[in-house]
């Protein structure tokens, strides 16, 4: 076991663990320290090879290891850097690092249209949370932002390329969970964009999962488009018998209507088990599901707004 100290909190991890995973281990074991977990926009633990693209997870390593205590010269991407014995890491305690992360957020936002009032992801968007926690409140960018027409990827998925941060999560999902990938990243550098093979529909049983893994509103559920804002819908854990996937989902309901079906996500907002398109798109009636109960939502999330746990008293 290797000893690692993150923001003054010590933990023991297996060799080969990354700093980000070590921080998440601390947060899981001691939830009161969960603020020290670096934000991750591109790393996604169920996806092999993800991470290393966005640089929001940077941390400062002030002591490389027990044997070589020199600090690392530059901030490192915590999702890619493995822990050494005796490593000392600073995240929220280092003001220089927070300033550097602010710069990363600004870079991620330079081409972003800032159209949260229209975007269906608002309220559960990682970029929103990241910008709120680490970003500047005003933009300094004066140049033209790149724009795209929105693209239908099949009947169910909508691509707003303007909002994409090129995290590659959807590409890895399509690669690893569907058998015939027809979309990927075209071009390079600031021209890079998500493209499909001539807007070919992604026809695959698991293609809908790219909606869940997309950290921003670039890939959204077309069947939910503009139906409601996420904080007006009530999430319920539900399951059904499905021979393609686990069948465990979250139903986003308004009254008795099922507006949207998504996979369940853990505390780090990563999908627990991927679900198939049939569960996601074809069963939008309450009767098809066994409802387990209301999903617990963190009280700092806007989704918890105007939702009450106590039973309402009947008035006469």
């Amino acid at each position: 076991m290797l000893k690692v100290t993150i923001d003054g909190i010590e933990t023991q991890v297996e060799p080969g663990t990354t700093i980000l995973q070590a921080a998440r281990k601390i947060a899981t074991e001691q939830p009161e320290h969960s603020h020290l977990v670096p934000p991750a926009m591109c790393y996604y633990s169920p996806l092999e090879g993800s991470g290393g693209k966005c640089r929001t997870c940077i941390v400062k390593v002030t002591q490389g290891s027990e044997r070589d205590p020199r600090p690392m010269p530059k901030p490192v991407a915590s999702c890619q850097t493995q822990v050494m014995d005796g490593m000392v890491v600073e995240n929220t305690t280092n003001p220089d690092l927070l300033a550097a992360r602010k710069g990363v957020v600004e870079l991620l936002l330079i081409n972003h249209p800032l159209d949260c009032p229209v975007c269906d992801q608002a309220g559960e968007c990682h970029l929103q949370d990241l910008a709120f926690a680490h970003g500047a409140s005003e933009t300094r960018y004066e140049e033209e932002r790149r724009t795209f027409e929105r693209i239908d990827i099949g009947p169910y998925i909508q691509l707003h390329m303007t909002r994409c941060i090129l995290c590659y999560r959807c590409v890895y999902t399509a690669n690893q969970f569907t058998d015939e990938r027809v979309h990927g990243v075209l071009f390079r550098g600031d021209r890079a964009e998500i493209g499909t093979y001539i807007e070919k529909a992604i026809k695959n049983d698991f293609s809908g999962n790219v909606i869940d893994v997309c950290p921003v509103g670039a890939l959204t559920d077309k069947t939910f488009r503009f139906r409601s804002r996420v904080w007006f819908t009530r999430p319920f854990d539900a399951h059904r018998k499905c021979d393609k996937c686990c069948g465990k989902t979250v139903l986003w309901m308004a009254g008795d209507d099922v507006l949207r079906v998504t996979a369940r996500k853990d505390v780090f907002d990563e999908v627990e088990e991927f679900i198939c398109n049939e569960c996601r798109f074809d069963h939008k009636v309450k009767e098809d599901w066994t409802i387990e109960g209301p999903r617990s939502i963190h009280r700092h999330s806007v989704i918890s707004a105007n939702k009450y746990k106590a039973k309402a008293k009947t008035v006469v």
Binding site: D115, C116, P117, V118, A122, R225, F226, R227, S228, R229, W231, F232, V302, A305, N306
Partner: protein, 187 residues
């Protein structure tokens, strides 16, 4: 017996004197007080003929603004509804179709937008939350109705008219808000 508090009073029930029993002096002094008020300055006004001037930041019934070209500013983002402490606002969004660009400013708009004026406490938080400068509180008063349903204002009651004379002037509130921001920035 020990008193529980030092604020208790001993009340006496002594017999009334002859003058007190006659009641007439007490009635006269009471009428005198009433009479005095006839000659005092009135503290009420004869509404609706006469109206009091409102504070420039008075918060009355809402207006949904249009932009300079006459397109509705509201994009049904739901921030006013989530900010509203009285949960008075509900809305349903719809997608703007081709050719409706002059009606709605953004690609999404509020097809239904309702404020329940019986729930509203006129706090103005909806106005503060709005990212599109779409909703404002005006110095106009919500009238009284006989029917509860009449207090649920839809878009027909809330959206201002396109014609210049039908526009609702909110410049005073806007001015106040802008200056509030500047006073907060450099106190």
């Amino acid at each position: 017996m020990q008193k529980l508090t030092n604020r208790s009073k001993v009340v006496s029930q002594k017999d009334m004197s002859f003058l007190e029993k006659a009641y007439v002096p007490a009635i006269l002094s009471g009428m005198g007080i009433t009479l005095k008020h006839f000659f005092k300055k009135k503290s009420t006004v004869a509404y609706p003929e006469q109206e009091r001037s409102f504070s420039p930041v008075y918060r009355g019934r809402h207006v949904l603004k249009r932009d300079d070209k006459g397109a509705e500013r509201c994009t049904a983002c739901g921030l006013c509804a989530v900010a509203c402490p009285a949960e008075a606002i509900t809305m349903t969004a719809a997608e703007r179709q081709k050719g409706e660009e002059s009606l709605y400013r953004e690609e999404k708009y509020a097809a239904v937008y309702e404020i329940n004026m019986l729930r509203c406490i006129f706090c103005g938080l909806c106005e503060e939350a709005c990212p599109k400068e779409a909703i404002f509180l005006t110095p106009n008063i919500t009238p009284a109705y006989y029917d509860r349903q009449d207090f649920v204002y839809g878009k027909d009651m809330l959206v201002e008219g396109i014609a210049p004379e039908d526009r609702v002037d909110v410049s005073k509130r806007q001015f106040w808000r802008d200056n509030l921001e500047s006073t907060q920035k450099n106190p």
